[in-house]
Amino acid sequence: MERPLTKHIRPDREPLSLQEYERVGGYQAVRKALQELSPEAVVALVKDSNLRGRGGAGFNTGLKWSFVPMGPDVPRPKYLVANADEMEPGTFKDRMLLEGNPHQLIEGMIVASYAIGADISYVFLRWAYKKAAQGIVRAIQEAYAAGYLGQNILGSGFSLEMHLHTGVGRYMCGEETALLNALEGKRAMPRAKPPFPQVSGLYGKPTIVNNVETLCCLPHIVNNGPEWFKGLSRTQDAGTKIYGVSGKVKRPGAWELPMGVTIRELVEEYAGGMLDGYKFKGALPGGASTDFLVEQHLDTPMDYTSIAAAGSRMGTGTMIILDDQTCPVGFVHNLQHFFAQESCGFCTPCREGLPWVEKVLLSIDRGEGRPEDMNILDFHTKYLGPGNTFCALAPGAMEPLQSALKYFREDFERHIHDHQCPWK
């Protein structure tokens, strides 16, 4: 089984130095792209590879890039930003790539920047990733010293600056337009789309924001080609994926695996099965803002298309497990507390609705719920759903709620009927 993104990452995640990275083929993709391929050819290659964004939405990366204006007369500087905010609860995959092999990310960022003609690039890193920050700072210095960054890289005429920006903590920073506001030193509020960042992003200039894992795929696609990349997958969605499992399993962790392994394989084989005495009740397949899947979905392949067909989203691909001894109402309450706290407050349904949902869930959990509360929860899943709020935070928050109301409705009703939590 090939594990291109993680095979060189050490178990203790001590980052590869520049020399170590070069020894295992590092920066060959930069050489190949800058010296042998045109930017258009790199875009075409990535489009053909069918790489889909690993940040959650799963948009085709090459297609996203193709909206960036190209040619001599376009606004400059253009920007590339690596989204290393990773604050989606239950998600810990980018941390591995950031800590274990920062040069791989930098190489991917150079390839992406070349493809879209970016002049300046940023790594937007969350505050908590201290070890990653040290590794990235060092790796950027090494890359400058070796001539992979700076003016006229490898004599190609292409130049690129790179900087690290560390955020000061807010989930909204991960939303790509809010991230750009944060980089400009503003509150991390989202921007209206259109205009899309590809056309008008950082400081009003064309900008691409890509997830860390997306960017780390690029050197391998350039080196080995689109057909190889598609061949890594078991299903129609290309590549490998870093999957994770947390919750009451024997071996929680993250693993790079072929796209399309099933939920059952992840839980039973890779995570070693449930802890003794616990049973699988459901899972959020890709972080806090994805819909629950349950036992009947265990054999669903974990790829964008199949998980969507099962009624959820791949999201970040890091799964959170709900076991039979954990209260689903308490579980969802914890999630809604997070979303209510992290709402930026810009639009009314989200600002007012999420705290309401949180309070209703708390009272149900305490055995103080009333039968009408179920209606209140139901209508919020519609009013805070897609199209009714300014950004995707609130619709994302509703995904675990609406699916919990579908699959675990009896558990909610039992709390209300019995005036107590059956799990306490």
């Binding site: 604050m87 609860p89 941390r95 908590a128 900087h163 903590g169 919750g247 959170i320 997070f338």
Partner: protein, 163 residues
């Protein structure tokens, strides 16, 4: 508000130099404001009204505008904090793995609630969103140190590292 600042309240030459350096790296002064707040916090542990005003002046912003940014983010402290800040993950995987026991133990041992500082000024306790290490839950950070798979038995030892 009193405009006669004590020397202690004024930004030091070192802080000013670091903020000016941050300003030199960005296309417009304001864009350095988060970095500038970080500089102040690094030196003082938190950002007081006085520091905020002086920093705003350097950035060509009003104090209110800078405060609107400072208060938006979870990790810029606008109140004094202890010598060490404990950030306890209260998100979903840590909840499933029983972080509430860790919370209760910390509160009992330190005799403080969330947002409070121990009388000796040693620890401030804050809840924090997912720390990105959910496979090793429950997790907490003290200053720059990450602790994973935390158990109540280990807590005393962990606290002991931070005098």
């Amino acid at each position: 508000m009193n405009n006669n600042k004590t020397e202690e309240q004024m930004l030091t030459t070192e802080e000013i130099a670091q903020i000016e350096h941050e300003i030199s790296l960005v296309p417009q002064k304001k864009a350095a404001c988060i970095e500038a707040l970080k500089v102040v916090q690094q030196h003082r542990g938190w950002v007081s009204d006085e520091s905020l005003k002086d920093t705003a002046t350097m950035l060509g912003m009003s104090a209110e505008e800078l405060d609107s940014v400072a208060t938006f983010y979870n990790l810029i402290f606008r109140q004094p904090v202890g010598r060490h800040v404990i950030l306890l993950c209260d998100s979903i995987s840590c909840w499933v793995m029983g972080y509430e026991q860790i919370r209760d133990h910390l509160m009992q041992k330190l005799q403080i609630k969330y947002g409070e500082t121990t009388p000796d000024g040693r620890f401030t306790l804050l809840p924090n969103v997912c720390l990105g290490t959910c496979d090793r839950a429950p997790a907490l950070m003290i200053d720059d140190h990450l602790y994973q798979n935390v158990t109540i038995e280990e807590l005393d030892g962990i606290l002991h590292h931070h005098r």
